[in-house]
């Protein structure tokens, strides 16, 4: 998509830069003063006397970059009066080559950097792009019947002088008095026969678009779907008008580079290293950037439009009863929470209230941020980052040890500072996380706020939806996932897959992210960016996890991240602590056709005590051979061959096999990490083969161990790490489980049973 950059000069002679994707809408806006009486309009109550525009339309990203430079320049000029000639010069300057000492920039001109070929940068020394200026009053007089007609007569209004100055390209560059309509501006009339009620209709459409877009952040295609308009021309007009009225915000989907920061995807926050540049037929640039990090959600590209609703400053209503009163409970427990759950939920609700009271960013926080950035400038890290350049390619970053990465501030922190309004709810596997979020949701909903529950998998969304609907019967619930029907409905309570977070902006007072370390966003900075973006400025984000990533654990330990731990399951027995068995790596025995004795013994034991046995392996390719091997021994354990099965992500029959396993038709199930979470089997043991494998980090190990002992009847499931050697992951997993048990004992949550 292409855009026009122009400068509007008001009656007082002040200049304001703009860019637009629908030039005729902007023309109309400046012609007719009643548009500008809107509250949030950019220059309230002031008409424009002159409009100066760059004649060529620029790719959207380039247009925005030019606009930014212009704005900076004009802000520096302050309240100075600007003549149309000067404004045109400024426009040409902003679009022309930069003043910096960057040799590439000097050589090719700024537009060329954006892949836009202007005739000026084809080799001439003088770089100038054509600028048209038009006096609004003349335009109104001349264009009785719509803006289609090309008016060649430049009435001598003092701006012809610009022509002489423009070097090189003759008529193409330079400054022409009359407006030559070069690019498609038919359709909307701007003259006398153009009625007020038509303007009112447009205004209504624009306002409605703004209302519908509230809290969203959508690519143009998605926005068209939301506004249910097939005609993109019409929709663009409405969106542009809404943007002029301050009812919507338009931006290029990829933020232009600024200072030393490269491109950045405005939707998912990914930096330069996830961008791919290619020739683009829709903007004519030969290196238009596309973000590959979020491409599954539609293409976010430098010339694509990202549409967001109006900026909001609304805050929550007051809590129902006084927060300072320590005697009364924070909320009424109508969900039957256990004591450990209650304790954590209360901590989280207290956090929400504190955050609500705190308002904007506190002074302390600001000071801290300042100090941090100052440290970066002077310290070793600053020097290193300067020496290494701004971006570190992915393939190098993956190889660097963590201690080195920490020295390079931009290496893992390119997504800006972490949001300050975060809370971690760290609950062991099987603690009943879902019930614990109810008080939080109630807190926000009862105060008139909006809440989002995001969870990684679609089946979890579908399973959770009826439970939420039952818990909050009076509240409208929107359920979002790829292809859901509620896609465009706004509701106080939203349940969505984590991907859908990207489509919101400043929408929720509470963003709840379930299983933040699970598959699609495992250690992905995109998730944090998306959560931060979806949360309102006064809102908060609560993360739920049984196995938070190390960085978060560290933050929680040091107190930087407020955190509540639920160290015990609902049946109040300690978590089974994994035992380690030395078993040779799978590769050593699977093809020789014999099962290690230790493994045979533990399987026999499990079968004898009547438990279901999970056997986890690192790779799908190991599932089948191990099932075949174990079946040879089925007779020894008193099982039929069919009672031993295997499944993986590639198995279309997975659902049935899990049901069979639950119904005890299958007794031993060989599987990969696909079943590491979300599956609850009442009486089960867990055996992890090749637990030393790099694929199993401590989070995965804890999750898999968490499949055992989940029911009250059999809380003492057995867990085995079968590995060739001990690894840090195994140690950490064990440590994490033990520390949770310790904490539970300390808090008196455990019901110790004799034996």
């Amino acid at each position: 998509m292409k855009a026009v950059v122009y400068v509007a000069i008001t009656d007082e002679g002040r200049a304001y830069p703009f860019w637009t994707v629908s030039w005729e809408t902007d023309l109309m806006f400046w012609m007719h003063e009643w548009f500008r009486l809107a509250e949030r309009a950019p220059i309230p109550h002031a008409g424009a006397q002159w409009l100066c525009r760059l004649r060529p339309m620029l790719p959207l990203g380039a247009a925005e970059a030019v606009y930014e430079r212009l704005k900076e320049r004009m802000e520096r000029m302050g309240a100075q009066r600007v003549s149309p000639e000067e404004a045109s010069r400024l426009l040409q300057e902003a679009a022309g080559p930069g003043q910096g000492n960057d040799s590439l920039r000097k050589k090719r001109g700024r537009l060329a950097l954006w892949g836009f070929r202007t005739r000026a940068n084809a080799g001439h020394r003088t770089h100038s792009v054509a600028v048209d200026a038009l006096r609004v009053a003349d335009w109104r007089r001349l264009n009785g019947g719509g803006c289609g007609g090309g008016n060649g007569d430049a009435d001598g209004n003092g701006c012809g002088g610009g022509n002489a100055k423009a070097g090189g390209d003759g008529g193409e560059s330079g400054f022409s008095g009359g407006y030559a309509p070069g690019c498609g501006n038919g359709g909307v009339g701007a003259g006398a026969d153009w009625h007020r009620d038509e303007a009112a209709k447009l205004l209504r459409a624009a306002r409605q678009a703004g209302r519908q877009l509230e809290g969203r952040s959508l690519l143009l295609d998605e926005a068209l779907g939301l506004l249910s308009q097939a005609d993109s021309g019409d929709a663009l007009r409405h969106l542009q008008l809404a943007a002029l009225l301050g009812e919507a915000r338009l931006a290029a989907a990829i933020e232009p580079p600024r200072g030393r920061r490269g491109l950045r995807c405005r939707r998912c926050g990914s930096g330069e290293n996830r961008m791919r540049r290619s020739a683009c037929a829709s903007c004519g640039s030969d290196s238009c950037a596309v973000c590959e990090a979020c491409i599954t959600m539609g293409r976010s590209r430098a010339c694509g439009l990202l549409v967001a609703g109006p900026a909001q400053m609304a805050s929550l209503g007051h809590p129902p009863h006084d927060a300072g009163d320590s005697g009364s409970p924070l909320f009424v427990d109508r969900w039957g929470l256990s004591q450990p759950q209650l304790r954590a939920s209360e901590a989280a609700v207290r956090f929400l209230r504190e955050v609500g009271d705190r308002g904007g960013r506190g002074r302390d926080e600001r000071r801290q941020a300042k100090r941090a950035s100052a440290g970066e400038q002077h310290g070793l890290s600053g020097r290193l980052s300067r020496a290494w350049g701004r971006r570190l390619p992915d393939r190098i970053r993956r190889r660097l040890p963590a201690c080195l990465l920490r020295l390079v501030p931009h290496a893992n922190r390119e997504l800006g500072k972490p949001p300050s309004r975060r809370f971690l709810l760290w609950a062991v596997t099987g603690a009943g996380k879902t019930e614990m979020i109810f008080p939080l949701l109630e807190e926000v909903l009862s105060r008139g706020g909006r809440a989002l529950v995001a969870t990684p998998r679609r089946d979890v969304v579908l399973e959770l939806a009826p439970r939420l609907a039952k818990a909050f019967p009076g509240t409208k619930l929107a359920v979002l996932y790829g292809g859901s029907e509620d896609r465009w409905s706004n509701a106080p309570l939203t349940l969505a897959t984590t991907h859908q977070l990207l489509r919101f902006q400043e929408a929720f007072d509470l963003v709840l992210i379930d299983e933040l370390d699970a598959f699609p966003y495992h250690n992905d900075p995109m998730l944090h960016y998306a959560a931060m973006k979806a949360q309102r400025r006064m809102g908060a984000t609560v993360f739920l996890s049984a196995t938070p990533p190390h960085a978060m654990q560290r933050e929680a330990r040091s107190g930087r991240l407020p955190c509540a731990r639920v160290p015990v399951r609902f049946h109040r027995r300690p978590l089974p602590v994994p035992a380690r068995l030395t078993v040779p790596p799978i590769a050593k025995w699977v093809n020789r056709g014999r099962v290690p004795a230790a493994l045979r013994k533990l399987a026999h034991e499990s079968v004898r005590r009547g438990a279901q046995l999970f056997i986890f392996v690192p790779y799908i390719r190991h599932v089948e051979p191990i099932v075949a091997l174990l079946r040879r021994h089925a007779g020894d354990w008193g099982l039929s061959r069919e009672a031993i099965g295997g499944t993986s992500s590639k198995d279309p029959d997975r659902g049935n096999k899990v049901t069979d396993f639950r119904n005890r038709r299958l007794r031993v199930l060989v599987t990969t990490t696909i079943l590491e979470r979300g599956v609850t089997i009442p009486r089960s043991d867990v055996c992890i083969l090749d637990a030393h494998h790099a694929m199993f980090d401590d989070a995965a190990l804890v999750q898999m161990a968490g499949r055992a002992g989940r029911s009250a009847e059999d809380p003492k499931g057995r867990v085995f790490f079968c590995s060739a050697y001990v690894t840090r992951s195994q140690k950490r997993a064990k440590m994490q489980i033990r520390s949770m048990n310790r904490l539970a004992r300390k808090l008196g949550f455990l019901e110790e049973t004799p034996g």
Binding site: S282, R299, R395, Y725, V726, R728
Partner: protein, 254 residues
């Protein structure tokens, strides 16, 4: 612990193979063996970026059973066709479910990192064709302006440009689309043939082709279903330059 450190050392020194452009998974093993003979180094390199699973999933057309359209099995369409304006067509792969997904990823999702891989797959029939005929130029089936703006690129043109560069044949934009047709993928055979009539035109005189000598032109498109698009394009080109012979080069044959 010792084992873990050895493992780390090993990882530190072993080459990182990057991730597969199609499925995005890290490639554990090195370059998978190429099951078909492709000579051009750039094409081979592009294909070797695939992981083993994706490489094995490609349904190559090794032997063309129909000498006209290059279909790997017996072909009724070519017998039924009354007038044929192209000499022959050759396709790289069968259009099965996997290939449909790949093309959808590239065309509709806009995953442009697939482009070199798809073009490299086209190198197989290109090399076989070029060993028989000397090509004068490469052209591509054009896209309607509106569709082009929406998608941002013309997949056939992109592939043609790569083929042209690899085999040092000039690329000529010989055609333009004059009529916006509905999507072909929803239509039956008869409709497709009708639908194509008069939707292309010659893009303007090319001086090089005007001398009346016999020239072989390779026309690139992504999918061949009934051949109506290629036939229509060949007809338009031959009307403008009657001495030309058109050879179709297709990425997939359905």
């Amino acid at each position: 612990m010792k084992g873990e450190w050895l493992e780390r050392m090993y990882r530190w020194f072993s080459p990182h193979n990057g991730s597969c452009p199609v499925c995005g998974r890290d490639r554990r093993d090195g370059a998978p063996p190429l099951p078909v003979p492709i000579r051009h180094a750039a094409a081979r390199q592009a294909l070797s970026s695939l992981c083993g699973d994706c490489m094995r999933a490609i349904p190559w057309i090794d032997i063309a059973a129909c000498s006209i359209c290059g279909r790997p099995d017996r072909c009724g369409d070519c017998l039924r066709r009354s007038v044929r304006h192209f000499q022959c067509c050759r396709a790289a792969v069968r259009y099965d479910a996997v290939m449909r997904d790949w093309l959808a990823l590239y065309k509709y999702r806009g995953l442009e990192r697939l482009e070199p891989v798809l073009a490299a797959m086209l190198a197989l029939p290109a090399e076989r064709l070029l060993s028989r005929v000397t090509a004068f130029a490469v052209a591509a089936v054009p896209l309607a302006d509106e569709r082009l703006r929406e998608r941002g690129f013309n997949q056939a043109e992109r592939m043609a440009l790569r083929i042209a560069r690899w085999y040092r044949i000039p690329y000529l934009p010989l055609l333009r689309r004059v009529r916006h047709t509905d999507k072909q993928s929803f239509k039956g055979r008869g409709d497709r043939l009708e639908n194509m009539r008069g939707s292309f035109a010659a893009a303007g005189p090319v001086a090089l082709l005007d001398d009346g000598k016999e020239r072989n032109i390779i026309l690139v498109d992504d999918i061949y279903t009934t051949g109506s698009t290629i036939n229509e394009c060949a007809y338009v080109i031959r009307k403008a330059y009657p001495s030309c012979k058109i050879y179709g080069l297709l990425w997939a044959r359905s």
